[in-house]
Amino acid sequence: MSTNPPAKRRAKRPNYLSTTNACKLCTPLGACLAFKGIEGAVPYLHGSQGCATYMRRYIISHYNEPIDIASSSLSEKHAVYGGGPNLKLGLTNVAAKYRPQLIGIATTCLTETIGDDVRMYLHQYAEDTKGSVGLPTLVHVATPSYAGTHMEGFHAAIRAVVAQLSEGGPLTGAINLLPGFVSSADYRLLRQIMADFGLDGSMLPDLSETMDGPALVTYEKIQGGGTPLAAIRAMGRSRATIEFGPTLVATGGTVLAEKFGVPHHRLGMPVGIRETDAFFHLLEELSGRPTPEKYAKERGRLVDAYVDGHKYVFGKRAVVYGEEDLVVGLCSFLAEIGIRPVLCASGGTSGKLEQAVAAVTADTLPEQPQVFEGMDFFEISEMAQQLEPDLVVGHSKGYPLARKLHVPLIRVGFPVHDRIGGQRLLHLGYAGAQQLFDTVTNAMIQKKQDDSPVGYFYM
């Protein structure tokens, strides 16, 4: 551990035109994941075959769970004459084979560029199939991959689902929870928290079961679990919406507020004690109940752990990258345990990242980190080398960076392609903070131990 306070080190941001090793994915992938968290849903890409296959492969490598993404499989003639007929044929085939409750249709760069009017095609399809029974509900979202990242795609899909399905009417007393894209374990935890507060929660999406299911005797065409359609329809009648994501703008939550007047509470992702406290305070307010003892105890153990481990992490310098809202949450957590984020980077371009990081760290950090949007791993790597970090925090695509810097990589978020169990990583709540804290602290201890010439085996 360094004995002197580290000198201020800033790095120069490079400015390149080409992208090398992107720190983002494309919009339709996010839309597919969002649709996959709806009960009985099949994600459907209106585009060429490769998109669906690549995304399935990418998602499977994280979850090791089946994910079927249907495709219009457009060929050259469809690109010239329009993809409408293939879209309709594809929908019919998916409806026949999967018997889904919902097909979530996302466009791709191909169909956006040729100007396919999906809304019109779906209108025609509804006319063509009038009187048919058992047809799935169709939801569509425009996700051209040349605009935004997978997170824009994810939130656009949630917004589209809510805008196209939710209805108004008499209040139900339910609480809408729009957590954004978190791990299956996180969704599970959130559901439990809502239940423990006695709240009737409608969480959208819910990937806790659909992308982390049990071993089965017969293959399920569509994996069980996910947000029920009935719950989505009723979201316009809930008494409040809680949405995680300080960098978001127009979302499912804003649609519900504007269209149906559902009060909208936007919070940061509850990563670490302070952001989780904010979430729990809101739940106390909405439920009229104190935080259940189970969570009070969890928090107590967490504080105790922070104290036990504080000196192993204090003053360490971290590079944090990934999806913007997750980066904000992670920075809040790292700052509160005494780690200094020195570089926060995202492939996203919300324009709000720096401000959002400052909002959760300004009172704790002696010096604000350098925060950049629109970064790729080549740029992150160049800057990181000047910043001499002690750890790297993000998804597994930062492994080459951590390897080059000879520092531990703390794997969080999506994707985790080089370990099993990415879907079981817990980030949220006191339990998530506990897992993160133990992982980070032990990584620091192990690094020191491994680097030690003595090979001691006592902390």
Binding site: T20, S48, Q49, R57, S71, E76, L87, T113
Partner: protein, 452 residues
Amino acid sequence: MDATALKEREGQIVVKGEAPFAIVCNKDSLAGAVSQRACVFCGSRVVLYPIADAVHLVHGPIGCAVYTWDIRGALSSGPELHRLSFSTDLQERDVIFGGEKKLLAALRELIERHAPKAAFVYSTCIVGIIGDDLEAVCRQVEAEYGIPVIPVKSEGFKGNKRAGYQAACDALFRLIGTGDTTGISPYSLNILGDFNLAGEIWMIRDYYRQMGIEVVANITGDGRVADIRRAHGAALNVVQCSGSTMRLADMMEEKYGIPSLRVSYFGIEDMAEALYDIARFFKDPAIMERTKAIVEAEVKQLAVALEPYRQALAGRKAAIYVGGSFKAFSLVKAFRLLDMQVVMVGSQTGTREEYEELEAITDPGTIIVDDANPLELTSFLTEKEVDIFVGGVKERPIACKLGIGFCDHNHERKEPLAGFAGMLNFAREVHASVMSPVWQFVPRKKGAEPTR
């Protein structure tokens, strides 16, 4: 099977022995059928990607580049430029106003930064639509920097993966013939269609070295631009994974008169046959002697090492679903060597001839399938009570969810499965999956607790 297959797909599924063999294949994937296939771009990308000293720039929105970042375990003994994922990351304004300027600037930047020996520029779906003139941009950059800058016509929607192989072969063909061939031995060959997954091409090259044959170019595993440029000086093309590079061999035969041999490096039988075929081609008794010595030594060693695996695995059932069907032949034979029974075999992009050959070497009752989808695959796996399924990443969760053993025989594998040593690794992999005690807990086994 009716319950699982869409009517339009019935011709693409055949059971050996039920009727005269006729399979429908090489057709476009059906909309909405969730094909395991990828696209033209994917085909080109996987073939060219292992060329380690070239810049591989994907011209398009970010997805195509990011999903293929270091996608294969293709190893390099030197430069590792191929492991970087370069993209022009086209944005909305580029789609509206054209992406040529951005492409030009990106190419200059990357060439100046990395000093590559060549650059490949891949077109993606929308490049084909917005009409960027890749040829012109590449020509200009080629003139500026004096290295080959080659457009790859890989717009995703213009066919399937096979069309992508063709586009890759076309790109390679532009390189070949531009290098100096002096000093190449008359006993020389190019290795086509091995991608050096887990270092496989190094094992193969070592066999050739021991036989006394010079390898001119690896196409494309551990590939180098300079080697490929002089590949037309080799006496023979040895083609593995024929689906991807056979076409290149044909083009080289036509233009440079280089004959080719189709081989497979998987399994003892095919590996030995490959080396003997090559030795026979050169008609040199000394080479044949050395080849015999290699094969005998390897086989002798292997037979002993394989025996415990064979005893443990005999009678177990296997299913195979791979990209190209040529690999499926070798897998069928490899399973037979272990006394295992292949009950299903299929591929994404097999040709009629290949399926006919598969039909000839499989047992009656074996399901043969073209361009299958997850629902079909699961029904075959359960119906046939399979013990191990061989496939790629997309097939893995299907097997796992049903509690069936799995062997990854695709791009991501980290264990070499080619060559004689590869056969032993293969047996180990199959054994490690089939013999695991975890199957006692899966619901598929009678008596286990149901989980849902």
